[in-house]
Symmetry: D2
Subunit: 153 residues, 4 copies
Amino acid sequence: MAGSGQTSTAFDLAAAQMALEAQPFSRLVQARITEFAEGTATLEIDIRQELLQQHGFVHGGVLSYAADNTLTFAAATALGPAIVTGGFSIQYVRPALGRTLRARAEVVQAGRRQAVCRCELTMLDGEGAESVCAVAQGTAMTLNGSARGADEG
Amino acid sequence: MAGSGQTSTAFDLAAAQMALEAQPFSRLVQARITEFAEGTATLEIDIRQELLQQHGFVHGGVLSYAADNTLTFAAATALGPAIVTGGFSIQYVRPALGRTLRARAEVVQAGRRQAVCRCELTMLDGEGAESVCAVAQGTAMTLNGSARGADEG
Amino acid sequence: MAGSGQTSTAFDLAAAQMALEAQPFSRLVQARITEFAEGTATLEIDIRQELLQQHGFVHGGVLSYAADNTLTFAAATALGPAIVTGGFSIQYVRPALGRTLRARAEVVQAGRRQAVCRCELTMLDGEGAESVCAVAQGTAMTLNGSARGADEG
Amino acid sequence: MAGSGQTSTAFDLAAAQMALEAQPFSRLVQARITEFAEGTATLEIDIRQELLQQHGFVHGGVLSYAADNTLTFAAATALGPAIVTGGFSIQYVRPALGRTLRARAEVVQAGRRQAVCRCELTMLDGEGAESVCAVAQGTAMTLNGSARGADEG
């Protein structure tokens, strides 16, 4: 039922990078995907002036973009690429300051139609020290009634 | 920076527009604030190619940016400008297609330190017809024991 | 078990009351369903000592039970009875004090497999005055590819 | 400022058990607290007929009660006992079946006024095998403007 001849292992890091590149908004934000395998995905964004809010911190909208996208990529490691994000919840734990934003998500549980994922967002400073700035959890679902993978790529 | 001698009644639509303009990420997204009064705030974003994902829909990260910011502006009508977003939850209800994204948030309840707000996100087509694409709810809090005290008198 | 030969139009208020009665935990809490039609469901719980926390307010767990169940019943008006709750988010807006807890949920959008719903929780005092104590939003889904098909014809 | 002469270490497992016992709803559910220290709290509930829904699984309202309470107890290890739950988000990942429900929460970050916590809910079968049935995240806040610990026990 899932995938017509393609195995899910064909949706690997290189394919995930192409999928990310195919998202105009991800190019605008300049996100990169650095990990994509076995229930885990990592997105990174180097922080520049354009991504800040009025007090010099990374804008919450950048963090929520990263949570949304990383949760969905993690889900795709289990469900394949033909999925949509169902929704998510994010809690900010401290102002986001630093050189690079890293969002790392993992699948908590994946069924045939849906995956539940969690995500931790950290800021890295110039020395690579990492501090949590937000946590998120959310869901992604296979496209409505379509066989997984069949209609993409 | 926020709340230096200003009373919260001075934080009106014009001031909210300046606050939005002072957010580099909001300028990158090209959001505008069209309503800001008495527990309600509305943000609008005209949709262009850069804001889409790979299937031609508005990227979830744009919707979550809009939810985050509109919830916080709505909270600011009650709490004043010196606040931070605590977090929020968003559920996508259908793919976002259309000319303009509109996010409208309202305060459910505001205390001295925190406000709980809800937000509805809709897409407007060329004729102005509006359809819901996501709903969100979240919180914002006065800054940690500091600035807010100054203008609470 | 659910939907054995029944059409979804037969799932009315009387059937919803039977479904609620069939939940042992809802009998323990003593919840009643007072509205179930066209995208809306209302649950009520008369407050007694057993439902409180240590400060005399209604326990958050009672509020979250009510949100969970009312969101799911509202979804059932659109999806039929063979569904599961996906998850939800709840924000408490003030301590819950009063004679009766009322949870009222409505469907924001329902597709073939999933419904997104919002819920408002209020406390009623002895005179019937109502004040919001929490807001919630969540999702419910048809059972995994199975029972639902039977009564969708 | 915090606590009038009491140290936060005085709010230990024994005190947490007393706080739980002081909640009538927790006695109705028959929850017990088995861990309470250094940013972590664990609640357990032995499953009996009264806690189920109509299909024989643990009712979502029991899981959400456990998430609510465990998140708040975890926060109390950092903030002290004088706190309120702000809200939380819960995702169900599979039907909850088993002998005992275990909810384990940990503090992600705690400031002076608020703590953000995550919670994992598992079911234990007769052999002690554990499987995740839900994940949650939420916040708790110190009581509005009151000094921590000063007004309790």
